[in-house]
Symmetry: C2
Subunit: 223 residues, 2 copies
């Protein structure tokens, strides 16, 4: 380490991480209109807007009224987080998790390519079927593939395991918006819904989904 | 695997991955105006727009004229990819890399917290100083921290190692836009620039940066 020295400061920028967060969240509160969202969702929404770098995303955020309580309670009780992509799994801040929760992604399971071919679907969708019983009570986040979200809903509507909450934020031009409408409108056989959180429209992605998970995992905005 | 069966299809959606890509890229070409960008950058821009889920990002994409050639040549010759976050490293599609290139992220190096404290900067910025000689000729991508991009420029302007290309796509409300302007306007002692690619403004992030890297790594849009 003796060779390492900080480079010459040539630009004017804030270098205190906590101060960057504080200023960022203050700017988001100033510029965004969170009035359409329940108060309990404001911290989660702020984190999503922060990850998007865009207050215009605010109007696309929608949620089931119980999603924050359901996800937080599940995670406190040790439920796993299950994701559709390795990138999203990497974005989960482990030190924010209340019970050293497992973060699971089955996309690279060796059975995935064969199942995808057999079922004529994407690997992301086939990977959902490998969640098996781990899905029961889990907090699920889809940040990439609309087909994974559709497949998950179909599994659940077939009477499969029920997760505690679903973060539905696939991104893209084909099927993304439709998959999020399907999540927001799904009804189980008993007429109930799995609590859900979405960014409607084409936008979404691993970064926003990870931000949502990190906010659901821990109450404190700056932790 | 005998227990696994595809769930009942209940929604109407495209399940062929290649077809999803094809339709997505066709929609992007229909809806976005790429005329402001050099032809050689169209595939890369299409991938960035795809990751953003938003054609409005097009006008924020800007690049040095040599960035595609410089990055592709470096990667073909085995240069490493260096990133500011584990999430971005996870987003690099390994099978697209032309030379089984190493993907390096030093954020979790044990020296990082101490250096960040000593230098009064963020861990993301301190981690950049640990790239050392690996930086010479590398393809660098910043998808999270503006402080990492500023720190990188300061290292280079101090006469440090010169990467082959820099993808500058930090996201956020504090310093993000400014760091990308600094990258686009930097000048080395010889008056030259390191070839660069940015998404101007507050938007950016790991997903767009990974999409850019994946497009720079491999010419074929659908590979």
């Amino acid at each position: 380490m003796s060779e390492l020295a900080a480079p010459t400061r040539r630009y004017d920028y804030v270098t205190d991480g906590q101060e960057i967060y504080r200023r960022s969240f203050a700017m988001i509160r100033d510029e965004s209109d969170l009035r359409g969202l329940p108060t309990g969702l404001h911290t989660v929404a702020t984190r999503i807007i922060h990850a998007a770098g865009d207050v215009a995303i605010t109007s696309e955020i929608a949620a089931h009224p119980e999603v924050v309580a359901a996800a937080r309670s599940a995670l406190s009780n040790g439920a796993p987080i299950i994701t559709d992509s390795q990138m999203l799994a990497s974005g989960v801040t482990r030190r924010r998790l209340p019970a050293d929760n497992e973060v699971l992604c089955t996309l690279r399971d060796e059975r995935v390519p064969g199942l995808a071919m057999q079922w004529d679907t994407t690997r992301a969708a086939a990977a959902v079927s490998l969640w098996g019983d781990r899905l029961e009570g889990a907090v699920v986040a889809i940040g990439n593939a609309p087909t994974a979200l559709f497949h998950l809903l179909e599994l659940i509507l077939d009477g499969g395991p029920r997760p505690a909450a679903i973060v539905g934020m696939p991104v893209g031009f084909v099927g993304s918006a439709e998959s999020k409408v399907a999540l927001a409108e799904h009804r189980l056989a008993d007429g109930e819904q799995i609590p859900w959180l979405v960014v409607h429209g084409r936008r979404g992605g691993s970064a926003m989904a990870a931000a949502a998970l990190n906010a659901l995992a821990h109450e404190d905005e700056l932790a």
